[in-house]
Amino acid sequence: MRSFMKKLYYDVKKCLGCKSCELACSLAHSLTQDIFKAIKEEKKSLPRKKVHSSKGNNYPVSCRHCKEPKCVDACMAAALYRDDQKDMVVYDQERCVGCWMCVMSCPYGAIRPNILTKLAIRCDKCQDKDEPACVKACPTGAIIWCEEAEVKV
C-alpha cells in the first residue's frame, strides 16, 4: 500500500515548462488511459495541474491539500472535506453542485471549473496509482514525491 504521508513538492528551478505533467495528468484521469484515444473521448479529461510562469520561473500548480483548506470551508454542499488519515482534501463529486466557491476561495488558484461537466478539476494525487502521474512524467525531476521529513531545502 502506498504511503499516505507523501506529498507533492516542486523544485521550480528545474521546471522547463514543457507541460509534460499536464498531459500526463489528463491521460491518467482519462477513461482509455491511451494518449491516442484519450484525446478523442467525448468528455475530455482536463489536467488537474497547470504550469504557470512568473518572472522567469515556471510553477507547476495543483491542489496542495492544505491542513486548513479554504475550499472545504467554502463548500456549501460538503462535497469537499479533509481526510486527515490520508492527509488530503477529498472531493465527493456526487455532492458537488457546481457553485465554484472552491475555485474562488483557493489561495493558490489550484482548482479550476470544468464548465462542461460542472465539476471542479483538482488534484487527487492519483489515488489509484503507486505515485502521481505528473511525478513520473516530469523529465527533469522538478516534481518531487516524498514525505515532509525528506524535503531538502
Binding site: 498531459l23 491521460l27 494518449i35 484519450a38 484525446i39
Partner: protein, 637 residues
Amino acid sequence: MSDAKQKSVDVASQQMIEQAEAQNIKIVWDRYDTMQPQCGFGQLGICCRICNMGPCRIDPFGEGPQKGVCGASADTIVARNLLRMIATGAAAHSDHGRDIAEALLLAAEGKAHDYGVNNPVRLREIATLYGIKLDGKKDLEIAGEVALKALSEFGQQEGELRFISRAPKKTQDLWRKLGVTPRGIDREIVECMHRTHMGVDNDYKNIIMHGLRTALSDGWGGSMIATELSDILFGAPNPIKSKVNLGVLKENYVNVVVHGHEPTLSDVVVQAAEDAELIKLAKKNGAEGINIVGMCCTANEMLMRHGIHSAGNFLQQELAILTGSVELMMVDVQCIMPALAELANCFHTELITTSPKAKFPGVTHIGFDEKRAMEISKTIIKRAVENFKNRRKERVVIPQETMDLVAGFTAEDIPYIIGGKYRSTWKPVNEGIISGRLRGVAGVVGCNNPNVRHDFGHTEMVKELIKNDVLVVVTGCSAIANAKMGLLKPEAALKFAGNGLREICEAVGIPPVLHVGSCVDNSRILIACSKIVEEGGLGESLSDLPVAGAAPEWMSEKAISIGFYFVASGVFTVFGTPQPVLGSQKVTDFITKDLENIVGGKFAFEVDPIKAAHLMIAHIDKKRQGLKLKPMMYQNG
C-alpha cells in the same frame, strides 16, 4: 515471462539482454524504459519548433492553446512535421544513392581502381533507360555516362526523374495529373524545407501532397539509383545461402562487424579480409582467421552479393559488442546508435567511423575514400587483427543461435527462378494470383523499435500472411528478423505457408518469404510490381494489384519516406505504432482514408501484427474482387 523475453522474441538477443543486465550495462531497452512516459505532444505531432516565436504546442485535450503563436493549427503543425520527416528520410536514401553514383563515376574515370563494372547487362539496361547510345562503347565508358546522368537527376530542376518511366503508364499519368511527379531529387527535398519554413505552406493537404512527390523522388529516384548502380558496381545479387544471428561471431576468429548502409566500403572490406598477409597476421596473433559479419543494411548488401553472414538487425548492434568477441566495428551512415561509442569503451572493441557525414566524439575516424578503398579497408582490418590480443576470453559470451537462409532475390532474377532460363517471365506469379493459388504479394519492411517486442511484429505478421497464401517480400531489418525465425529457408513453406503458396514454393524451390535486399532495395519491390502489371491480367496501374505493404516495427524517418512512396504508388501500407499525426484528425483522415481516392494507396496504423496482417489480407481481397479474380483455391487457417 522473463524481462528479456518481453523485450525480444529472438533467443540470442534474450541471452545478451540478460548478459547486459548481469554486467549492469545499460542498453537500448533500458534507455527506452527511462524515457517513459514519452512526451505526448511529440507522439501526437503537435509540437512546433520551427520559429523563434515558439516553441508552440497545441493542447490535444482542447482546453489550452489551439493555435501556435503564428496562428498555425494542429493540422498545419502535424503536416509540416510529417513533411520534414519525409524530407529527412528521402534525403538519407537519396544521398546514399548519390554516393554510389559518385563511386561509379570515379570507377569509370579510372580514379577508383578497386571498383569496376560487375554487371554489364544491367549497365546497358540502365544506360538505355537514360537514352545513352551504346554502340561500340566499352563498359567503363557507358558507366561514366550513366553515373553522370544519375548525378544530374539530383540537381535536375524541371521535367521528370527518368525512372518514373518504369512505372505503369496509368500510374505515371495519375501522378502527372496530380502534380506529384518528382522533378529533381534535391529540389523536392529543398522544397520541403522551404514549404515548412515559418509562414509558407499552411494547407495540410497541399503540404502532404508535396510529401508524396518527395517520397516518390526517393523510391523512384534516389533509392532506385542506389539499387541499380550498386548492382552495376558490385554485381546483381542471386539466390545465395548464408547464416544469420549473433552465433555467426566466431570464438577463435578476429571478428569484424560492418555496420551501416552503403556497400561501397563493405564490398571492398569483404575482399580485403581474404588478403593472405592479413590472415597470416591474424594467425600470428593467435586467431584462426578473420571473420567479417554484417549488421543492419550493410549486412543485407554483403549477404545478398557475397553470402557474408549477418550478425543481426538494428536492435542487436549493442548486443554484438556485448558478446565481448568483436575486435572492431566499423560504421558508415544511418541507424548507428550513438550509444555504441560508450559501450565499446566497456570492451576491447574498437569502433571506427568511416564517413565524413557521421563522426562520433572520441571515436577513431578513418575517412573512407573511394580512390584508396582497398588500402583503407586493409588498414581497418589490420587494426582489428592487432586488437585480437586484447580480447578478454573470460568476458566472451557468444550465443549459439544461427539460422540458415536464402537471400538475394531481385526483380530481375525472380522471373528466371520461377520461369527458367528459356521462359523467364513473371507469368507464373500472375497466373498464381489469377487462379487463386496465390492471394497476392506483401512487402514487409522497416526497422526495429523497442516500442514493439523485437522481431515479434515482423515475424508474426509474416507467418500470418504466408499462412493465408500471400507471398511475402522482405528488406532491411525485417528481412533479418524473418531470417532468424527460419522463414527465409525453402523448408519454411512446408511448415508455415498456406496450401496454395506451398505448392508454388515447392514447384520452383523458393522460400515463401523472399529477401530482396536492404532498405534502398525497396525500389526492387516497385519494379517487381510494375513488371507484374506489365505481364498482364492484373489491372493497368499499381493500385489495381492485390498487394500491400507494412512496417510493423518502424522507427526511422526513412521508414516514413518508404511508406509514403508506397502509398503514392497506390499501395495500402500498415505501420505498427502510429506516425506522429494523431494530434490532427484531419491529417490522420487524409492519410488513412482520403488518399485512397486520390492515389489508390493509404495508411493504416495497427500495432498488433496479426490484426495488421488481416487488414492487408482484407485489402488484397478487395483488390482481387475489383479485378474479378477467381475465389481462393484453398481455405487455410
